[in-house]
């Protein structure tokens, strides 16, 4: 079975600073990887996904993530954050050929002035 680890439960950062949210996964088979964002009192919205091909994936709102197979990581980055990026971010893994998403515990990103 696959699992996802998000080591940082909270990440405070100042506006316009860069940020990295860490995600590590474990799986014995090929997987698809996702990052979702959840704004307060809203559902999850897909930020980006890795299916195959280029290991650097670009998503919405200026976010990008890099798939590293040897380190089983899929860290999310943004070079310059905005106040509106304050939200909870979830990393998720899906086994190739399946539909089931397994989510990490989430990272609360708090952008301060």
């Amino acid at each position: 079975a696959q699992s996802v680890t998000q080591l940082d439960s909270q990440v405070p950062v100042f506006e316009e600073a860069p940020v990295e949210l860490r995600c590590n996964y474990s799986s014995s088979v090929s997987v698809y990887l996702f990052w979702y964002v959840q704004y307060p009192n809203q559902g999850l919205q897909l930020l980006l996904k890795y299916l195959s091909g280029s290991t650097l994936v670009k998503g919405i709102n200026g976010f990008e993530a890099e798939f590293n197979k040897s380190q089983t990581s899929f860290h999310l980055r943004k070079p310059s954050v905005h106040i509106s990026d304050t939200a909870e971010y979830f990393c998720a893994v899906r086994k190739g050929g399946g539909n089931k998403l397994t989510f990490g515990t989430g990272t609360q990103l708090k952008v301060e002035l």
Binding site: L44, F90, N99, K100
Partner: protein
Amino acid sequence: EAGVAQSPRYKIIEKRQSVAFWCNPISGHATLYWYQQILGQGPKLLIQFQNNGVVDDSQLPKDRFSAERLKGVDSTLKIQPAKLEDSAVYLCASSTLRSREGVNEQFFGPGTRLTVL
């Protein structure tokens, strides 16, 4: 295009009472999912429907939880009787049956926040 609709948005009940949540997926989406998101945790899949059939309900506590999607469109999730540990946000998501990439994006509703006292 209208998104996934859920109601109610908030519900407060006492333990041992029953409660029901409703979800209307995006039009044309054959697959519907119910997730439970406990505070401080990621969403956990409870049940997945494809049209009106159950694909995966391995993590649904069947002694108290039930779900149906009778006509293959909207769905209802019920808890009877509720326990304190059922306090969570219940998320509904939907996806198409197939996509060009072979990976169907799940679109999430706003969720129903349940508090059991």
